[in-house]
C-alpha cells in the first residue's frame, strides 16, 4: 500500500491544492493523520475547537442534540470536505456534535498552530481564508435552502 506523506495529502485536498510547496511544508507542521471507527464521536458541542479535519475517506455526521428527542443530523460530510469551522472564529468552541458514520481517515490541523502561523505570516492567513471561504459560502447557501423547507410546499 502506498503511504501518503502529509504534504502530499494536503496538496491533493480541494482546500489546499492551490497552495505552493513551501506553504504546504509550513502547514504540514500543524497536521497529523487521524482515524475514527464508525460510531466514534469526533467532537462534541462545547468542546474547544482545537482542530480542523480534512476528510480523506469516509462519512461524518454533524448533529445537533435536542432534549426532547434523538439528535438531528443536519449535514453529512464526505471525502474532500472540511469538518469544523469553529477554530477560525472566537470563542473557538464547537457548536455541534460530529460523529463518524463509517470508518474515517482524515488529516487534522491544530488550530493554535494554524492561527500562530497565520498571525506570523498575514499573507498565508489571507490565502487560507480565501481558500476556506468559498467552502463556507457553499455551506451557508445550502443551509439557507434547508431553512426554507422547500419540500413543504408545492410539488415537494
Amino acid at each position: 500500500m502506498r503511504i501518503h506523506g502529509i504534504e502530499e495529502i494536503l496538496s491533493e485536498h480541494p482546500v489546499f491544492k492551490a497552495f505552493d510547496k513551501e506553504t504546504l511544508e509550513l502547514l504540514a507542521g500543524c497536521a497529523r493523520n487521524e482515524h475514527f471507527r464508525a460510531g466514534d464521536r469526533i467532537f462534541a458541542e462545547g468542546d474547544p475547537a482545537d482542530k480542523v479535519f480534512l476528510l480523506r475517506h469516509g462519512d461524518a455526521a454533524v448533529e445537533i442534540a435536542t432534549s426532547e428527542r434523538a439528535p438531528i443530523i443536519v449535514e453529512t460530510l464526505h471525502a474532500g470536505d472540511v469538518l469544523g469551522w469553529s477554530w477560525m472564529v472566537p470563542p473557538y468552541r464547537h457548536m455541534s456534535d460530529a460523529r463518524a458514520m463509517t470508518e474515517i481517515r482524515a488529516v487534522s490541523l491544530g488550530a493554535d498552530c494554524m492561527r500562530t502561523k497565520c498571525d506570523d505570516n498575514p499573507a498565508l492567513g489571507y490565502q487560507m481564508f480565501q481558500n476556506l471561504l468559498p467552502h463556507m459560502a457553499v455551506r451557508v447557501r445550502a443551509l439557507r435552502m434547508q431553512v426554507l423547507d422547500i419540500y413543504g410546499t408545492k410539488k415537494g
Binding site: I72, V74, V138, R141, D149, Y151, K155, G156
Partner: protein, 283 residues
C-alpha cells in the same frame, strides 16, 4: 395482445377508468393504477400529465408516473393538498374516475441518446421524472451514463424508496439520495440537492450532460446554477413547471406562464426558453 390508441378524439371529454389497485407511498401520498373501462389504453410520453376527474368533486392535473412502455398500467402518484387531490388519494380498488389526456410536452430523453443523462428530483418531483428514468434504464446501452440526484425533506418522505434501492443496485447507474435532516439511524447523506449535484457532476464531462429537473422551483433554480457552473450546455437542461389548470388544451388561459401556456407548451420546458420568467416574481 396489447391494444394502444393515440390521444382521445375529444380532449374535453373525460373517459371512464376503473381503479385496478392503490397503494400508499408516503403519509398523504398515494399511487393508483387505472385501467380504461371503454376502449384501449392510451400511449403517453414521459413527462406528460392527465386531468383526473374525481366524480362530484373536481378535476386536477396529475403527471403520469408509470412506465411509458406499459401504457396499459396507467399509474399516477398524488399528494393530498385539497379537495380533489384528497378524493384521489382516497380511491379504492374498483372505483371509477374520469381521465382526460395525456397532455403536454415530454422529457426528450429518447432524443438525447449518447449523452450522460442527469435527473435531478426533489420531493414529489420524482413522480413526473419516473417515466423518463424507466425509459433510460430500459435502453441504458444507448446512453453514456445515468445519474439520479434525489432530495427529500427526511428519510420517511423519500418517494419510491424501495424502487430507488433496485436502481441503486444496478452497476450502470449513479444514484445519489439526500435528505434535509434525519435522525441518527439514517446512514445516507444529509444536505441539499445542490451540494449532492455538485459532487455528482464532478466526475462527469459536462459537455456530455443532458439534465432533467423536477421539484420545487427554488430547487430547480439553484440546481440550474450548479449545472451552468459545472459547464453543462444551457440548451441541454429541461425543467417541468406546475401551474393550476382548467382546460389543459390551451383554451382558457388559466395556466399562462409569460407567453406560454403550461398545459400546451409545457409542462416540460427547455430551461433557457423560460429562464427569464423563472427569475421574475409572481408570474
Amino acid at each position: 395482445m396489447l391494444v394502444v390508441q393515440d390521444q382521445e378524439p375529444d380532449p374535453m371529454l373525460p373517459r371512464r377508468y376503473r381503479v385496478r389497485s392503490t397503494w400508499a407511498e408516503l403519509a398523504g401520498v398515494t399511487s393508483v393504477e387505472l385501467t380504461p373501462v371503454d376502449g384501449a389504453a392510451v400511449a403517453f410520453r414521459p413527462g406528460q400529465f392527465n386531468m383526473l376527474y374525481a366524480f362530484g368533486v373536481g378535476e386536477i392535473a396529475i403527471s403520469i408516473s408509470g412506465d411509458p412502455a406499459e401504457p396499459q398500467r396507467l399509474i399516477h402518484t398524488t399528494r393530498s393538498v385539497g379537495a380533489v387531490s384528497a378524493a384521489l388519494t382516497k380511491l379504492c380498488e374498483g372505483d371509477m374516475l374520469g381521465v382526460r389526456g395525456p397532455f403536454g410536452s415530454a422529457w426528450p430523453v429518447a432524443a438525447e441518446t449518447g449523452r450522460h443523462i442527469v435527473f435531478v428530483a426533489g420531493g414529489l418531483g420524482l413522480a413526473p421524472l419516473r417515466p423518463a428514468i424507466y425509459h433510460v434504464l430500459e435502453h441504458r446501452e444507448r446512453y453514456a451514463g445515468m445519474t439520479l440526484v434525489y432530495g427529500a425533506r427526511s428519510p420517511d418522505e423519500l418517494l419510491y424508496a424501495e424502487e430507488i434501492k433496485t436502481w441503486k443496485s444496478r452497476f450502470d447507474t449513479e444514484i445519489e439520495v439526500t435528505v434535509d435532516h434525519a435522525n441518527p439511524a439514517w446512514t445516507g447523506r444529509v444536505g441539499v440537492v445542490t451540494s449532492c449535484l455538485d459532487r455528482a457532476l464532478a466526475g462527469i464531462d459536462p459537455a456530455m450532460v443532458s439534465a432533467f429537473l423536477c421539484g420545487p422551483e427554488i430547487m430547480m433554480r439553484f440546481s440550474v446554477m450548479s449545472l451552468a457552473d459545472a459547464g453543462v450546455p444551457p440548451d441541454r437542461v429541461w425543467i417541468s413547471m406546475e401551474r393550476n389548470m382548467k382546460c389543459a388544451i390551451g383554451f382558457c388561459g388559466h395556466c399562462q406562464f409569460g407567453p406560454d401556456f403550461v398545459c400546451r407548451d409545457g409542462p416540460v420546458f427547455r430551461h433557457d426558453h423560460v429562464a427569464p420568467l423563472l427569475s421574475m416574481k409572481e408570474i
